[in-house]
């Protein structure tokens, strides 16, 4: 067999291995309901429940942050994050959590949040301006 073909086979084999391992490593976006039964950590997309308490008190414990999140199926759950409160968390539009359930709480090891896009942000800003000009 020619060397070139051997190399070709090796490269293709590794490429296939890469792709398979990539997709076997991918987790799936789930819901709190699925997290209840799943033993492995998973990612949940949802949004912050702004009507409930966001708890972070650095003076008590700088590494404890808890809040309530509603997942995309509408189920709400208390979330605990071992770390400081991410900057500007209140304004997040969408939150992606990685972690698992522990009792009735979801323990997040990672939080990724998405803030409002510039255009919606603009609108908020201008209405604020309006309120100010009215009071003058």
């Amino acid at each position: 067999m020619k060397k070139g073909s051997i190399l070709g086979i090796v490269v293709i084999a590794i490429a296939i291995a890469v792709i398979i391992s990539t997709y076997s490593k991918t987790s799936s976006y789930g819901s709190f309901k699925e997290a209840m039964t799943s033993a492995a950590p998973l990612q949940i997309v949802g949004h912050l429940d702004k009507s409930k308490e966001l708890y972070y008190d650095a003076t008590k414990d700088a590494n404890y942050f808890s809040f309530y999140m509603t997942d995309n199926k509408g189920q709400e759950c208390k979330v605990v994050f071992t770390g400081t409160k991410p900057q500007d968390f209140e304004r997040s539009e969408q939150v992606v959590l990685t972690g698992q359930m522990s009792g009735n709480e979801f323990h997040a090891s990672k939080i990724l949040m998405k803030c409002p896009s510039k255009y919606t942000q603009d609108k908020v800003e201008v209405t604020e301006y309006k309120a100010k000009s009215a009071t003058i």
């Binding site: 990612q43 972070y56 003076t59 414990d61 700088a62 071992t82 400081t84 323990h107 000009s133």
Partner: protein, 823 residues
């Protein structure tokens, strides 16, 4: 809707928009002209070529014009323009206006077009017989870039213009008022994270790298188009080396920026946006190697062409990833969609189609080599190396593109849970192969090599690398981590050693090899630094004191408590350091925290002391934005950032100076006072220390209060001992015109307010007692910071490796250019 708006400056915007349309039109003209110049059979007819040049020069001038208009608008704070309003503000220093340019997508497209314009002019000047076909491609790319800025409605809105007015961009009732500008006092300001000098130079470098990748692509297409299969290689190598050097520098600059001023916890986070810039770099560096193989041996023509072509397509794909908003759920840094999703897709597809069509049309004529490479030849192993670089790229593309596949196939796969580890392990595996190849391939010659001699050198150097690598692995503790890091370390050391030998030969006269040897040494050092610092970095701010939230929470323990809490002037032991948060100083918008580090020797004496000033911007719109501060040593860095602090927002700070302090409301900041009746010499214990009454000052004075004969003013000389610090304070008790007053004194560093509230007379002066009211700040009101500190080992190898690699690239470019001239 014909409202005459007051105070708008419409001229610069209209001029700018005119330049945009002109830029698009002239680029299109240039593309068409160059196309006909290329297909024109009559070599004496230069008219198409002339037209192409004129078109391209008008385009360059227009792009510069767009830049000037935009600068004028931002510089003069014309907030009627959306771009100025969204990305700058009045208090933005001039040099950051530059960064506000590329905070938005439009500005970064402009930057890309600017560099591509410059490169196009260089090609017009230098490319000679290649000018027509090469410039056809460059001008086409310039046309597409200009179209991204158009912002003109043709069926749907095409592109996004930086000159759109605020009232056009946003729908709000306020804009029905002719005087709306009077209400818009200031812009949104530049994202505080971007207010950094690295942000002034990192994007231009990165975009020069992206822009320059069109040149090797254009040469490859031109080579196929003109059937000049061999000649295009030589200039393409030089330009590809240039691209790889600039893009590599840009990527590492970004990583340095992240390390120095972002709280990414390190220099590389495998964020999709970072990956996007690395993907084309990997294929182009592979392309450079295969191009050299082809030039020297005539082998691997197709692979060389393929890699060059795919690199530019991947640049466009990367810009689609970061700009279309598709990364949304997986990246924090990507731009949001500006309605250009399909525009970007079309851009990628056009160039993909050109590349595919050009290769397909010439498929039968391509110079495929019949002969097989020798096993003991340099070209064969360079080719293998290129394949592995390609595989490494494939892995990055596959994982980064998960959201794209989700969008296409409607699936809901999420990226790996532990992306950093996942990438590190995979990419290390590929890097091992690449470093080993970068080492022993240097011992091989083109065509064929004496096998015995080769084996002897290879094995000797390998044994040495094993020893040196082993020592490094042992001392830095890499072996505690995944085994692949140890293997990679040995590979990287081998790469450095083997190339050091080649460098030694350079000094014996084989000057030609200098560039490659230096670049590979740099690459090896870069990897050594990356491996050590990524696999041994440790968080030293582990908190063991936090209140426990139930045993369930503590037991979980999957996340170590990585932040520590520092109250002002209360030292805390953190790893080997005794850290104290001393004071803070404000230079708006930055809020600096002075944190003192002491390292004690075993004898209890201070061996080392230094102060770090991590800072935070308390921005009303962005929240707290921290920037780290790092103590640099030769072999390790202590990196700290403040993740939380109870400070005021910018706008509250500026308003504070003129408002007087209201005593009653001030008391709310303290716990209820505790009264102590003491005599001179007595001590008052309190929560954080002891206060001594040292004496009574009978002639205390208070500013601006004049005393008459019957008035009394006495001060209590207090000394406060807390956490090893001593403070003095003198609250004053006063009887003036028959009524008594007292003047409290604050000791902010100790979190105290002290009042001398009463004098209780005794029979003799020695029996006098004095009432001292002690106000303590509750824990939550006391100034504190929450801090995270990480120790990075040997990161300097990473930076210095980069610099050495760039020097190597420069040497190679000089060499190839020389060959170009002599050829």
């Amino acid at each position: 809707m014909n409202i005459a708006f007051k105070g708008e400056h419409l001229l610069p915007g209209q001029l700018g928009q005119f330049f945009i349309v002109l830029a698009f039109g002239s680029a299109l003209l240039s593309t068409i002209a160059y196309y006909f110049a290329t297909v024109n059979k009559n070599p004496l007819d230069k008219s198409w070529n002339k037209l192409g040049r004129i078109g391209f020069r008008i385009n360059t001038a227009s792009v510069v014009g767009i830049g000037c208009c935009l600068f004028y608008i931002i510089y003069n704070h014309f907030f009627e323009y959306h771009y100025a309003w969204a990305h700058s503000s009045r208090n933005l220093p001039v040099y950051y206006i530059i960064s506000s340019y590329w905070e938005g997508q439009e500005g970064s497209f402009w930057l890309w077009a600017f560099w591509q314009g410059i490169l196009g002019n260089v090609l017009i000047w230098k490319a000679k017989s290649w000018e027509n076909p090469v410039m056809t491609i460059v001008a086409l790319s310039q046309t597409l870039l200009s179209s991204m800025l158009l912002g003109v409605v043709i069926f749907t809105r095409v592109g996004s213009s930086p000159f759109i007015l605020l009232r056009e961009a946003i729908q709000a009732p306020i804009f029905s008022s002719p005087e709306y500008l009077g209400f818009i006092k200031d812009g949104n300001g530049l994202n505080p994270l971007l207010q950094n000098y690295w942000m002034v130079i990192h994007p231009p470098t990165l975009f020069l790298g992206f822009a320059s990748m069109v040149v090797p692509f254009a040469y490859a297409i031109a080579g196929l188009w003109q059937k000049r299969y061999k000649e295009w290689i030589q200039p393409a190598i030089s330009y590809a080396l240039f691209s790889v050097m600039i893009l590599g520098t840009g990527i590492i600059m970004g990583s340095f920026w992240a390390y120095e001023s972002l709280n990414f916890n390190g220099f590389w986070a495998w964020d999709p946006v970072e990956n996007a810039s690395m993907i084309p770099w990997l294929t182009l560096i592979a392309a450079v190697h295969v191009l050299i193989v082809y030039k020297n041996t005539g082998q691997s023509y197709f692979t060389a062409t393929f890699l060059v072509l795919i690199s530019f397509v991947l640049v466009l794909y990367a810009s689609f990833l970061t700009r279309s908003g598709i990364l949304g759920e997986t990246s924090v840094h990507a731009f949001t969609d500006l309605g250009m999703f399909w525009h970007l897709v079309i851009d990628v597809l056009i160039f993909l189609a050109i590349a595919a069509a050009a290769v397909a049309a010439r498929w039968k004529e391509l110079p495929f080599s019949k002969k097989e490479e020798e096993t003991y030849s340099r070209e064969f192993w360079m080719f293998v190396g290129a394949c592995f670089l390609g595989l490494s790229c494939l892995q990055l593309v596959a994982v980064t593109s998960i959201p794209v596949f989700n969008a296409i196939f409607g699936t809901h796969a999420a990226p790996p849970n532990e992306p950093v580890n996942f990438y590190n392990v995979f990419q290390s595996g590929f890097a091992v192969v690449v470093t080993l190849l970068a080492g022993f391939t240097q011992f091989l010659k083109y065509k064929n090599t004496d096998a015995t001699k080769f084996y002897i050198t290879t094995v000797i150097y390998f044994v040495f690398s094993l020893l040196i690598g082993g020592v490094i692995i042992y001392y830095t503790g890499i072996y505690h981590n995944h085994w692949i890091y140890s293997v990679l370390m040995i590979g990287a050391v081998y790469s450095v050693m083997a190339n050091a030998k080649i460098l030694a030969d350079v000094f014996k006269g084989k000057i030609k090899l200098a560039g490659s040897a230096v670049a590979h040494i740099g690459f090896g050092l870069l990897l050594i630094g990356a491996v050590i610092s990524a696999s041994t970095s440790s968080v030293i701010s582990i908190n063991n004191t936090g209140t426990s939230y139930g045993s369930e929470f503590a037991r979980q323990g999957n996340n170590p408590r990585e932040n520590i809490m520092l109250y002002r002037n209360e030292p805390v032991q953190m790893g080997p350091y005794l850290v104290t948060y001393l004071t803070d100083s404000v230079a708006l918008p930055n809020h600096f925290f002075k944190v003192d580090y002491k390292r004690m020797g075993s004898d209890g004496k201070v061996k080392e002391e230094f102060v770090l000033k991590p800072n935070v911007q308390a921005n009303r719109k962005m929240g707290l934005v921290p920037s780290p501060d790092t103590r640099h040593y030769l072999f390790h860095d202590v990196y700290t950032h403040v993740s939380m602090a109870n400070i005021k927002f910018d706008d509250e700070m500026t308003g504070e100076g003129n408002g007087g302090h209201d005593e009653a409301s001030d008391d709310k900041n303290y716990d209820p006072p505790i009264l102590h009746e003491v005599a001179v010499g007595d001590s008052i214990p309190y929560r954080d220390g002891v206060i001594y009454l040292k004496g009574i000052n009978k002639n205390a004075t208070v500013q601006d209060i004049k005393l008459k004969d019957n008035d009394v003013s006495v001060g209590a000389e207090l000394e406060i001992h807390t956490h090893g610090n001593v403070y003095k304070s003198e609250p004053v008790y006063m009887i003036k015109d028959g009524s008594s007053f007292d003047f409290a004194r604050r000791v902010p560093d100790a979190g105290l307010k002290l009042r001398f509230s009463k004098i209780i007379p005794g029979k003799t002066p020695a029996d006098f007692k004095f009432e001292i009211s002690v106000y303590q700040q509750p824990e939550s009101k006391k100034p504190y910071i929450v801090m995270k500190a990480i120790e990075f080992q040997d990161i300097n190898f990473f930076w210095s490796g980069t610099i050495i690699m760039v020097i190597g690239f420069l040497l190679s470019i000089f060499r190839r250019n020389k060959e170009l001239k002599t050829a």
